[in-house]
Symmetry: C2
Subunit: 346 residues, 2 copies
Amino acid sequence: MKAATFIEPGKMVITEAPKPTIEKKTDAVIRIIRACVCGSDLWWYRGLSKRESGSLVGHEAIGVVESVGEAVTDIKAGDFVIVPFTHGCGHCAACLAGFDGDCTNQEGGGNGGYQGEFLRYTNANWGLVKIPGQPADYSDEMLNNLLTLSDVMATGYHAAVSAEVKPGDTVVVMGDGAVGLCGVIGAKLLGAEQIIAMSRHEDRQKLALEFGATDIVAERGDEAVAKVMALTDNAGANAVLECVGTEQSVATAVAVAGAGAVIGRVGIPQKAEMNTNVLFRKNIGLRGGIAAVTTHDKARLLDAVLKGEINPGKVFTQRFNLDDIQAAYEAMDQRQAIKSLLVISD
Amino acid sequence: MKAATFIEPGKMVITEAPKPTIEKKTDAVIRIIRACVCGSDLWWYRGLSKRESGSLVGHEAIGVVESVGEAVTDIKAGDFVIVPFTHGCGHCAACLAGFDGDCTNQEGGGNGGYQGEFLRYTNANWGLVKIPGQPADYSDEMLNNLLTLSDVMATGYHAAVSAEVKPGDTVVVMGDGAVGLCGVIGAKLLGAEQIIAMSRHEDRQKLALEFGATDIVAERGDEAVAKVMALTDNAGANAVLECVGTEQSVATAVAVAGAGAVIGRVGIPQKAEMNTNVLFRKNIGLRGGIAAVTTHDKARLLDAVLKGEINPGKVFTQRFNLDDIQAAYEAMDQRQAIKSLLVISD
């Protein structure tokens, strides 16, 4: 089968790889329909993190189940499914608490290779999310919406849930990448009244407004804080979605939070050490982590997509065939695309 | 008037101080009935923090209003009141959000002198909490319960609220001082099913069990973590109340938290810098800060005390007259008393 393969920073190729098979009774093999490139893929693409040369890549997809192991009973061959980057078992304490991104039964090696024709998915019984019908029943736009439920929309929503967004809230969203934009959708879905998107790129500002942002702040640092304070009558936000992870972004998130506000973090923290006394002084909460993809999809997001309530697929501003994998990465790397879609099969 | 006065570390005396008067139209002057010594008073008593020699001390009391400024309309002379250590204005964004400990209109100098015969209380209109009837209507036990609502019980409850304790939860309480013990009461009041109190002193273990703890863990560090894991079927707690503030206590709080748990901090953090990536990895939340005393009292605690639902006054294991102020501090300092009560007047 064809699979996107990492060679070295800045260089992606399509290689011929062995088609995966069922290795454990909890596995499923999926024929991939659509996949995409994640902002976090750029870390190793840019050489900022290490990755083995020759490794298969990608962790977001939708597809059709080809075969399942004998312990997989919730999903069967022929089912159309969301393929989350998480692999929740559904029965450990973390999954039961609604945090399948922290599943204690996750298996190593299961996360990679989504940007290819076939994938072995571990913990398939509970982890996969069944989509009604078949791919051919859906428009391209709807397939794009469904694809976002494998990571980016679930992650943006996780930021909003972690920030405990309530109806009527004033929410600040740090980050205008695809996750931040999906955070805007998540905040609106949870009833936020005022959504302030921190964005300095015109195409992303436009999409943020379309997704429900009420205000745009293009400034950074102290100027951004002053602007948010002016927009909130000096009260600060009730909830802050931190979808970047840099030290500056986290500092700004704290500075714009009002007393008792909660910061929901999904941006992988760049710096571990943080002065938490600034949180204590204003009763600011800090929550978040790896998204609970299967939990959020089953509880709310799949339904919201199928009903047309949300249209997160708009984050895919460029579309590529699998063979053009290098161009798909370059478009993201050079910020020509907000997010690159990969069409694998129909 | 008589007032407890700090001379130097280890030395408290009663001095004759001028009786306070109304200085601002938002003030009230209170005749103090009961006051007490706080664990945080021991910081300067032990010389661990600085305090000016000759300064009046104390920040917990109940009393009767002597006079009020012209802007004070909710409370009048003769009213029996809880005198919170917080001074919420009731109308800033922080107070409106339910975090009066972070009131942006708090006035300097208003916090101190509660261990004396009279007190000038700032922001009296909203900050003071009216108790029905007069002191003579209540038993000594009930006066003790009411006194805890000026700080310690509200602070323990704040830890539980900050940790988002829900019915059925498994809760770990770090710290067996008066605040931790009130945290046990708070967790139970919010419906916790399993309450694990970390305590190594027999008298405090006994009180924790009386207040609703279901399990006692006397160990510290790694051994404490192992014991909690064994008690929770390896799942960790749903909520952790951090009522100590030391680095070791915070580290243990994180280690016993299950995926998605929230740590509610009220122990003033000893160390500002904290590795927050350990939180991110397990979606552990960190909330808490200065208690919202007036908010909690009015919303829930005064009612719970008056109905006999909770008996936090049991934390006062020794009773002193104001003249015996040195003995009251020594009893706390030497851990002979869990908390020292000061009888000022009737």
